[in-house]
Amino acid sequence: MASHIGSATSRVDGRAKVTGEAKYAGEFNVPGLVHGYVVESTIPKGRIVRIDTSGALEVDGVIDVLTHRNRPQMADKDDAYKDEVATEKGSPYRPLYDDIVLFSGQPLALVLAEDWETARVAASLVKVEYEKAPHITDLHAERANAYAIDKPEKPRGDAERAFASAALRHEAEYFIPTEHHNPMELFASTAIWDNGQLTVYDKTQGVQNVQQYLCSVFKMKPDAVRVMSPYMGGGFGSGLRPQYQVVLAVLAARALNRPVRVMLSRAQMYALGHRPATIERLALGANSDGTLDAMTHEAIAVTSQFEEFARNDTGWGNLLYKSPNAKFEHKLVKLDVPTSCDMRAPGAATGVYALECAMDELAVALKMDPVQLRLQCYSDRDQGADIPYTSKQLRECYRQGAAAFGWDKRTAEPRSMREGSDLVGWGMASGVWEALQMPATVRIVLTANGHAEVATAASDIGTGTYTIMAQVAADMLGLPIDSINVKLGDSTLPQCPLEGGSWIASSVCNAIANTARAVRGDLLKLAIGMKDSPLAGAGVDDVALIDGKIVSKRDATRAVSIASAMQSGNADRITREEANKVAEDKSHARNVHSAIFAEVKVDEQLGVIRVTRVVNAVAAGRILNPKTAHSQVMGGVVWGIGMALHEETLFDHRFGRVMNANIAEYHVPVHADVHDIKVIFVDEPDEIVNPLGIKGLGEIGIVGVAAAIANAVYHATGKRVRDLPITLDKVVQFN
């Protein structure tokens, strides 16, 4: 029956995207559009003494310059600025609110002009005088002031004592620098203010989150604000929270009573949020057979002075490995930077990197194959909550990944594999993420002509949400995929959570199933109402919708076409709206898993590293679309290569400024850095996680990849580099 679910389906929005028909937040043009350009702070901390906008206002075509002094009214209280993903503790940043400078790159003024170029020219003429305050942006320098925060992971046993008496011990610190998302699409918002009605086209991963936020900040009624984001050129977490340009665009639209667009520059986007620089300390104590006796994982991460952002860096070991004694600690250091934010696999990308490097080091100490060590410690239960998994095919990931990679040909000794002037290294790591579902509602409108509109307020951030929703709806409604029209990215559509956390596929697809069932029930009623109905007496779960027909599951010859059922009931459309069921059930852990195998070749003399092969074997429940799923995981692997070898936001701590705020100098992998990447999806039927057995793929692709590469670099060179990125000067001692 399921002909679309599980089949490699090309993106339904592919044509719109490559032809330019798909419009992004900065592309909605309306008559009289005003363009805003942001003037940002050049100091990280202090106070604005004076802003001289006279030079800007003299420029032909400039309409106004908004600052904290002359902006329209907005809410005062912190709570009004707390969006759905705001940190629990702290005061959210309030754009253009007052004269306080909290970070370099903070917007201080918005120049409004008839065209974008004029606004930009005028912005360079705005003069700001500051009263500087002492600042600090260096995690290492401020480390002594780190403070512990509450974390859910509880200690077990006595990790310190067990570590002290362990047969083999490994203890080390790992470091991940600040990283930025760098989505291709620049952040932009177009705000249209019309007689008290506000329409906003925004680059966001959650239109309803932005809608609620704007209502709160501008004290507007929900039905007066509509936020749309039909397409997004990459988010990776940077678009989870409402970003400041949307506030500025609305402020300006209200001030001028004209439509306003604010688009940020690439450099300005480096002040939106980042993956926090994190120090991770691992202490592993093992028995000589490779079972773990003690596991301590501590993280010290960066947050801003005004909000407490923290993600689960340290709990992943509880999901992967058995250890009777365990201890976890999460500390924060407050710096004069924007609040850290979610970036692909927040917490796991960093925490699992450290954990999986530490496991590799332990394997070396034990003289044990790294895969074997993981099998020795393999946990069939979530160690923290002491519950089983809904499914966990991680053993199969190790097996299939190792086989595809040819792991059995690896010689254990570092520097033992060579190819000409290159040292060859093979490394591996595990990956883990959550398989969550969030409440979501989907509306289906089935029309008598055999078309269905499937709608929810999700954002497709480029992952393929339009496509998988069309696939699932086509199967559930028994219609061709071309007859399904998916509508997303509009806050007026039925409720949907933010597109993040890898939960959208499971949430919306299960909601589609429920809504489709309701539609099926309505159709069945109509069919039963027909004279001599072949479906008389059937219940909603006794029938299925197949090929445009309502068909008895027991006897396929008993069927009524959807068209005739609707016709006989004089129904020109059936509209239904249902939510998914999110289990309260805490009896199982819900996770996705992966095993990553990486080959590096390192020039022995020059230290130049190439990642020549990666195999990522993923167990993530039901794979809805192998084509988009493959892209998701492959993209994660590429990002993992960047995390391992390239990515680093470089601060000059004297100025408290990012020095490489552009994609020429903030390095991500280019084609030459990407070689052979193989993605394997391990079969993982799961009837517990949710009715459709979907686990989500957004994050898992990157988790563990940097560790596998770092472990491969060690295997190649004998040099253990624990602070990312692994640049050539860290691999070879040149001087």
Binding site: T42, I43, S104, E117, R120, V121, S124, S421, D422, K601, D603, Q605, L606, G607, V608, R610, L645, H646, L650, F651, D652, R654, F655, R657, M659, N660, N662, A664, E665, H667, P669, V670, H671, A672, D673, T727, L728, D729, V732, Q733, F734, N735
Partner: protein, 338 residues
């Protein structure tokens, strides 16, 4: 960003005339660097004089046995020209190791010589930089200086010249043809770019009212034994941490002539006559190469983040000379170092 006038130059004389009347004007050809600098408010020319249409697009053999390259020849056309690929493959390989195809399509030969440094502080107007604002100080010396210079630096500036093409041109001892109000003159490549000294704002010895019209290559192209090796923080589309242009003339395994230039390490392509002399008459082997490397890096000094460049450069020089001697030049498509 500052608004500017746009004007086209009809011919070289017109270009010179236009720039002479407006000292704050700039020539624009491909614009691959200047446009960025305008956007960053590092440059704010009152007028852009478009010279991209000047008839300086030919690549022709000279009567002296060399090749004359028009200043407006796009980097791509130059790199793939049969005369260059055949006789000066070092130049071709150096060009192709820089930027991206799209940028090389736009970038001109003359403009390549005039690109500005990529020092982070030069681009960030919120920080002091003597090159951008003379007298304001050098932020890189005690700052984020991984990409900065180790040779020929001054207390005023440790910026590098980012070109790959120029490193090959230095090794090939090209000549720069320029024209100004006083007429045409030639500048030896080694004299074209300057060291920062106390005037880091001046990258070259080109006068403000002069224009580059052509680059002349001498007859000798070293097409048998050459290599251009570029080491960077990713395998493509990044500026050099260290790059090496090596060209040898061998008699058996004895070195008859040697040219060696470094990129990514100084305010100009870095050569040393002592290093090249040290190779003459020597067997082309690791010992000789190491000696040459030591000469070339004589006086090298790190500033913290870039200390590693000294050792990296030493090894890169040895490797590149070895590639040149073996006749196995570094390839741009195969990212593996040979």
């Amino acid at each position: 960003m500052t608004p500017f006038q746009y004007a086209r130059a009809n011919d070289v004389a017109d270009a010179i005339k236009q720039i002479a009347t407006d000292p704050s004007a700039k020539f624009i050809a491909g614009g691959t660097n200047l446009i960025d600098l305008i956007k960053y408010d590092v440059e704010g020319p009152s007028r852009l004089i478009d010279i991209s249409h000047l008839p300086l697009r030919s690549i022709e053999p000279t009567s002296a046995g060399g090749v004359l390259i028009g200043a407006m020849v796009p980097n791509t056309d130059l790199a793939y020209h049969p005369l260059i690929e055949g006789r000066y493959p070092l130049l071709s390989r150096a060009i192709l190791s820089g930027a991206s195809q799209q940028l090389r399509n736009m970038a001109s030969t003359g403009g390549n010589l005039l690109q500005r440094t990529r020092c982070f502080y030069y681009y960030d107007t919120a920080t002091p930089c003597n090159k951008r604002e003379p007298g304001s100080g050098c932020s890189a010396i005690d700052g984020v200086n991984r990409i900065n210079a180790i040779l020929g630096t001054s207390e005023a500036c440790i910026a590098t010249h980012p070109s790959d093409m120029c490193v090959a041109l230095a090794a090939l001892e090209a000549t720069v043809h320029v024209t100004g109000p006083a007429g045409a003159r030639t500048i030896a490549f080694a004299d074209f770019h300057r060291l920062p000294g106390n005037t880091p704002q001046r990258d070259t010895n080109l006068e403000p009212d002069e224009i580059i019209t052509a680059i002349e290559l001498p007859p000798k192209g070293f097409s048998a034994n050459y290599s251009y090796l570029k080491i960077r923080d990713r395998l493509s589309y990044a500026f050099a941490l260290v790059s090496v242009a090596a060209a040898l003339e061998l008699d058996g395994d004895t070195i008859k002539e040697a040219r060696l230039a470094l990129g990514g390490v100084a305010h100009k392509p870095w050569r040393s006559s002592a290093a090249e002399a040290a190779l003459l008459g020597q067997r082309a082997d690791a010992t000789a190469f190491a000696k040459a490397a030591d000469w070339l890096l004589h006086g090298a000094k790190g500033y913290g983040h870039n200390n590693f460049k000294i050792g990296l450069a030493r090894r890169a020089i040895i490797r590149t000379l070895d590639q040149a001697a073996r006749g196995t030049p570094q390839s741009n498509s195969d990212k593996k170092i040979r």
